[in-house]
Symmetry: C2
Subunit: 354 residues, 2 copies
């Protein structure tokens, strides 16, 4: 007999494989229609098999945030990996060089300090690293602050032996991103430099990427699973949410409140838009239920607005606020179709934050 969802110990991370396939296909179709290269971010799923599926559907390569993720994905046969993160420190540069010897590796830089590290490594290792200039187009995280500085850094990098200027990079696509990129691209042209790739990302605005002139590549992660934040932002419907946490009611001593065995160690404490009033997850089959408080291993669910209430031992499915963060808590994930567990996979790149 096949394994059933009801046999899983809780809390369990469950993936609806049909919704995943639909989400993947839809994004690939969008990119193909608009001539955008799709380079999915694996930080969301951290699963080699889903990375391979993304590539099979037409992705040009994958994006990894950290070297540890890239190492797992290279081991799994992914041949074209963008490390979308400033690589700093001798040991990390050595890891990047080792990766560059076996797969096509590109990365980003937002300072001469980072570029110098990459160039030194490339010289020592005899590899050539394609580098995208990371530009801060309004998010105020990493990135050079202005188009002029992007051009200056591009000029610097184009003169570093062992580095190859590969284009421009930003995250996410904001209102200011288009003008910022246009100015940087004009500056590069004036300097006689070419931005082969202009890469931007983020699931919420993904389907408007073609409206921003200049962008050639889309990096998205969350779209594969979606979550409560994506629904709230209008980037997905509840039916697009492919990832749920299965939980069990362990206590029901108040008429309008139950306690689940899934807390912040099963869902994370990530909020929707930073607003605690929006709660800690969606209780799928109980409209109106609100996960009011999370402790490490408990969720307190308010059922005041619910037509029916679950009892001790009942199971409920929860859509997390933030899929990418929730995944990172689990050693394994169940691939599910209906009530059947098709496969249980190790989350191979879980915890690979280094």
């Amino acid at each position: 007999m096949s394994r059933q969802v009801e046999d899983l110990l809780t809390p369990a991370l469950c993936i609806d494989v049909d919704r995943v396939e639909r989400n993947l296909t839809r994004m690939q179709a969008y990119c193909s229609q608009h001539g955008l290269a799709l380079r999915p971010h694996v930080k969301t799923h951290k699963l080699p098999s889903l990375a391979r599926r993304q590539l099979a559907l037409g992705a040009v390569g994958i994006t990894c945030q950290k070297l540890g993720e890239a190492e797992v994905m290279a081991d799994a046969g992914c041949a074209d990996i963008l490390v979308s993160y400033e690589v700093v420190g001798e040991r990390n540069l050595g890891r990047l060089a080792a990766l560059a010897r076996r797969v096509r590796i590109s990365t980003v830089a937002d300072s001469r300090a980072v570029a110098d590290g990459l160039a030194g490594m490339a010289a020592r290792s005899g590899v050539t690293i394609p580098v995208l200039i990371d530009g801060d187009t309004g998010y105020h995280r990493t990135g050079v602050p202005t188009p002029a500085e992007a051009v200056a850094l591009a000029q610097y990098i184009s003169q570093c032996a062992g580095l190859r200027l590969a284009g421009l990079f930003t995250y996410p696509t904001l209102r200011a991103t288009g003008p910022w990129l246009a100015e940087a691209l004009a500056g590069l042209r004036r300097a006689g430099l070419e931005a082969g790739i202009v890469s931007s990302g983020g699931t919420p605005g993904a389907l408007s990427t073609h409206e921003v002139q200049g962008i050639t590549e889309l990096r998205v992660g969350t779209y594969i699973y979606n979550d409560r934040t994506m629904v709230r932002r209008g980037a997905a419907t509840p039916d697009d949410c492919a990832l749920t946490v299965l939980a069990t009611v362990i206590s029901a001593n108040a008429p309008d409140r139950v306690i689940l065995d899934a807390g912040s160690k099963a869902l994370t404490s990530d909020l929707v838009g930073g607003d605690p009033a929006l709660g800690h997850g969606e209780v799928v089959a109980y409209p109106g239920a609100a996960i009011q408080r999370l402790y490490e291993e408990h969720a307190v669910v308010d059922l005041t607005a619910c037509a029916r209430v679950p009892r001790v031992g009942d199971r409920v499915s929860l859509v997390p606020n933030h899929a990418c963060a929730a995944v990172n808590l689990y050693d394994e994930v169940a691939l599910v179709r209906g009530t059947e567990v098709l496969e249980v996979l190790p989350v191979a790149a879980r915890g690979r934050s280094r």
Copy 2:
């Protein structure tokens, strides 16, 4: 040559072994002085070696939140384990029975539904399970709501073959806890029942436990490491914080802002007292630095109030808001003395939320 902290890849979870020893010794001395049994909660460290150290210093046993933690600790030789969690479901009851056959296991119940599950398992397995009545003395999580219901459940359990009434259990120790417990204890006496153990917990109020009449056992977890929340609540000083996350500056493109390679996947999104204005961690050597925003793999640090600023490649130590949650993100932890790494240990019970 010995391994040095500077050789660690970041983000790295580091434990100051001397601070741990001081924190452990202090809490054991407090309990010994006041005749309290100490039953440390291993959910904070999830490390067999530290559980064994707690036992060697005088703890009567350990507390585990989840069965998965208890299985790891039983494998590691811990012989007396309280599973401080309502065990629900046939597979979990089977796991509890398996544990009860090899170590001294006790657990809690806050409903007849939970008690019936335990009793059925005990009858089938031929084991006897000591059960503490979980009472809600004001926290409104699990627990029977009133002392009268505690007495009624105690009477019920005392008549279940295979279960042994072991006492009362609550969390945390609040203002109302003392009167609640006194009333429940009086009710038990009138019913001719004995509460051998009266167990309460929580690091913030731990050192006032002796002021609450009736409590015989203290369950604490966070005291071993402490964190920013404990400092804020006055339960620890900065010097008592034994756990830090080592991070690297990867970007410094604004005069008063740097970006670290440690985000919510390295620190969690847990806040101090639910207040986002208190930031996402303490930057140890940079007084005034504020971790304003966290992304999955980035921290944005505001340095406006700092006398000096770190540069790209510099490393900083961070005290997390919540030690127990941060630990659960890491596959391994470095035991550190000064600049030396004494040992790198697997976080054996990481992710054991089932």
